[in-house]
């Protein structure tokens, strides 16, 4: 757990670790900003799955820290990123090597209902999005069952797919 200054604890950044079937799982949550302690990235080894669905947001200095951290991940670590949060998908699309040598397995997408206007995040697997252009992400509205579409510009939001 990393805290600094007088920040409210809800704004903190945290990493929870556990191991299952020989794979280390790291669950990141909170805000990646100038106070986030990303030093754990330097010590990754073996099979690692980094869960990013609870990362609330990242600021410009957090991006800098993240890129430095990812670049310092030992080459012997095989890192897979899952549940990549919307704010991180945006960064991934702007910065070519945002996840370095790692592989993205799944990501959250902001969806909007074409009927009732409800918005919600839906998890998609990268493997399911490959092979069609445009991808045309779709889901079903939890409120009215109508079709939900990506609430973003597809060619920008899914630009990262060509890298994985």
């Amino acid at each position: 757990m990393s805290h600094a200054g007088s920040r409210h604890e809800n704004d903190g950044f945290s990493v929870e670790r556990h191991e299952r079937s020989g794979v280390k799982h790291l669950h990141l949550s909170g805000i990646i900003d100038e106070f986030a302690d990303l030093s754990f990235l330097l010590h990754l080894e073996g099979e690692v799955m980094v869960h990013l669905g609870e990362v609330r947001r990242i600021n410009s200095f957090g991006v800098r820290l993240w890129i430095d951290g990812v670049r310092a991940i030992p080459p012997e670590a095989n890192v897979v990123y899952v549940d990549v949060a919307v704010s991180l998908v945006e960064q991934m699309n702007m910065i070519h090597d945002f996840f370095g040598r790692g592989r993205v397995e799944s990501f959250w997408a902001p969806m909007a209902c074409s009927s009732c206007g409800r918005t919600e995040k839906v998890l998609f697997r990268v493997a399911d999005c490959k092979g069609s252009d445009p991808v045309g992400l779709e889901s079903q509205c939890g409120a009215c069952d109508a079709k939900m579409e990506l609430d973003d510009i597809e060619e920008q939001y899914l630009a990262f797919l060509k890298d994985f």
Binding site: G5, R57, V63, M94, I95, P110, A112, K121
Partner: protein, 320 residues
């Protein structure tokens, strides 16, 4: 002293009628033009403000018109009225320092509110204040930005309002990003010593910095039923138009290796810019900077990302 002669070009007569009324209503002397070919012959120096709608008819004439305005009438304020703030507009702003205003053509035939504010600010040389973009009666909230250790609190103050307004989690997060980036800039980048040298920019953003009374910035925010508005004012006037335009140009080109600071300053600005409807910089060089961002809450995020955007630099020095 800026005069009151305003030329407005648009091939749409309905837009011209509205524009003429707005210009007269703000105290200007209006000349309207619907013939794009006549743009080649306009006596640019005869006008204090020129509004050029970048419609299809103006296409063949716009570049020559802008080049002439820079060469022959550098003190004439040129306002582009564009269907999108695309890379071409930003490149023009980068190329021609006198081009400081792009007004988005979001409404047909035009957004009379934005035209009124833009013309009035230019004519009256009264640039500062979020209130100019809000109707009477709207409550504005103010926070003093003083200490880096309290940044999370500043962010919460603003995002709490966004949450109370029923904004989606993503929009609240984007509002938080706006305030985070603005506050960091106000604490670390804006403060200057008497020689104009940055006081805290060299420090790690993890350092605790408490601004002196004379250095404190002000954060103002409000909602008027349409726009969520955030403004930050610092008493230094150190931000330059060139810095902002350069960052936006690099980000719009989306060249990863050229992204400013590999994710540092500029990235925040761009991320914020993507969802804003209007971004306004009021600068009194060496004295005062005010950054205003307006997000149209009636729009979906997708609409916010794709809608045309307004970008204004009101720089007092340029009007001396």
């Amino acid at each position: 002293m800026l005069g009151r002669r305003v030329l407005y070009y648009d091939s749409d007569d309905a837009a011209l009628l509205l524009a003429k009324r707005v210009i007269v209503g703000t105290g200007g002397e209006a000349t309207v033009l619907s013939d794009a070919a006549a743009l080649d012959h306009v006596d640019l120096a005869g006008y204090d403000i020129v509004v050029l709608t970048l419609d299809e008819a103006a296409g063949p004439y716009k570049r020559a018109f802008l080049e002439r305005s820079v060469a022959l009438a550098p003190r004439t304020k040129v306002v582009l009225h564009a269907c999108e703030l695309d890379l071409e507009c930003i490149e023009w702003m980068s190329q021609w320092p006198t081009l400081s205003h792009v007004m988005a053509k979001r409404e047909v035939p035009l957004d009379t509110e934005e035209l009124t504010v833009t013309i009035a600010k230019l004519l009256r040389r009264d640039h500062f204040g979020l209130d100019k973009y809000l109707p009477w009666g709207v409550d504005t909230y103010e926070v003093e930005v003083r200490d880096s250790r309290d940044k999370a609190q500043y962010v919460r103050e603003v995002s709490n309002l966004a949450s109370r307004l029923g904004c989606s989690d993503r929009l609240v997060e984007l509002v938080e990003t706006v305030v985070d980036e603005l506050s960091t800039n106000a604490i670390f980048n804006a403060p200057r010593n008497a020689d104009g040298v940055p006081r805290y920019a060299h420090l790690s953003r993890r350092e605790a910095v408490a601004l002196q009374d004379s250095e404190c910035a002000g954060l103002t925010f409000a909602f008027d039923g349409r726009y969520f508005a955030v403004a930050q004012r610092d008493p230094f006037g150190a931000l330059t138009r060139e810095t902002v335009v350069t960052y936006l140009e690099r980000c719009l080109k989306r060249t990863p290796d050229q992204l400013p600071g590999a994710g540092g300053a500029g990235m925040g600005l761009f991320r914020v810019y993507r969802v804003l409807s209007k971004l306004i910089f009021n600068i009194r060089p060496g004295e005062l900077t005010e950054v205003i961002g307006l997000i149209d809450l009636r729009q979906s995020i997708k609409s916010l990302l794709t809608q045309p955007k307004s970008l204004h630099f009101f720089i007092e020095e340029a009007e001396l």
